[in-house]
């Protein structure tokens, strides 16, 4: 494994999350009881999705500045891993909601916003497959990816701050739309942030694996820099 120190870091941080996440003392918040521990597993999905899609955005911009097919491959791989994290976040959120909000789907503004965001990214994948010409596909999907990110951010960061929701965070409370800062005590933060970094690193690792496969597959198409 080349340049592997950050991969080892990902393993260490996630193993730490999966042990400390079950063992530390957690505050008693509302009807959450022990499910507040989901904060160490469900919420990092969204944080790492934001990071991975951000990396994808950077490579889309780089492609438009310098049309090297390599950047398109990078953007695609990171977007796919980001979408995977989002789907996992949505599913885990639904499971959690079943036992705290009473039903898996409450048509909550945050649930709807995030589903729209995911559909926009599904459309990115559909768009990629719909354009047979490689250079055209790279250019169109790079433009679309930039559009998608800047509609995705308002949907998950701005809209939730404006409306009431069952989900913690957002309108009228401390913290970001993902979580209520007041619910987190110092112990939970010590597990939560390593979890976010760990999942982001694991997502990056998985993305680099598909990047390396695509690079080998398309090595005859990629121009030397």
């Amino acid at each position: 494994m080349r340049k592997s120190w950050w991969k080892i870091l990902a393993v260490i941080l996630l193993v730490y999350t999966f042990t400390a996440g079950f063992l530390i003392k957690v505050p008693n918040v509302g009807n959450l009881k022990e499910t507040i521990r989901n904060l160490f597993f469900h919420v990092p999905m969204w944080f790492s999705q934001l990071i991975l899609l951000g990396i994808s955005l950077v490579y889309s911009i780089r492609y438009l500045r310098n049309p090297n097919l390599k950047y398109d491959i990078y953007a695609e791989a990171f977007a796919k891993t980001g979408i995977l994290m989002g789907v996992l976040g949505l599913v885990t959120g639904s499971i959690w909601a079943t036992y705290t909000w009473g039903e898996p789907w409450s048509n909550d503004p945050k649930q709807i916003a995030v589903v729209i965001a995911l559909l926009i990214y599904f459309a990115y994948l559909v768009l990629r497959n719909a354009v047979p010409d490689i250079d055209k596909r790279a250019k169109v999907s790079a433009v679309y990816n930039i559009f998608a990110y800047f509609i995705y951010v308002p949907l998950i960061m701005i809209l939730p701050r404006l409306v009431e929701s069952l989900h913690p965070g957002g309108k009228g409370v401390e913290g970001n739309p993902g979580l209520n800062g007041a619910d987190l005590d110092a112990t939970m933060r010590v597990v939560f942030w390593p979890a976010v970094i760990g999942w982001a690193l694991l997502g990056t690792w998985i993305s680099t694996l598909s990047i390396r496969i695509y690079l080998i597959r398309d090595k005859n198409l990629i121009n030397a820099e």
């Binding site: 494994m1 080349r2 120190w5 991969k7 080892i8 870091l9 393993v11 260490i12 941080l13 996630l14 193993v15 730490y16 999966f18 042990t19 400390a20 079950f22 063992l23 530390i24 003392k25 110092a186 112990t187 010590v190 597990v191 390593p194 694991l202 690792w205 998985i206 694996l209 390396r212 496969i213 080998i216 090595k219």
Partner: protein
């Protein structure tokens, strides 16, 4: 240099875990750890096992791709 980085990385969980130990000092680990605390350790063990299995799989794919990359460079 490489070894130093690994050493530092290994220190991170130790530091983080020692922090949680300070926060939860009244949490005494008993003789039958696996059966204490509503058997939460069992859940933890299973989740860690799944995680480690996942990591081993990802690492093995990583190695295989590395091999293919080498073969591709030679040809």
């Amino acid at each position: 240099m490489r070894n130093k980085i690994y050493y530092l990385l290994l220190m991170i969980p130790v530091m983080l875990l020692s922090g949680t130990v300070i926060f939860a000092q009244d949490n005494v680990v008993t003789e039958s750890t696996m059966r204490s605390n509503g058997k939460i350790y069992v859940v933890m063990a299973i989740c860690v096992t799944i995680l480690v299995g996942l990591f081993l799989y990802v690492a093995s794919i990583d190695k295989k791709i590395g091999k293919i990359e080498k073969e591709n460079q030679n040809t």
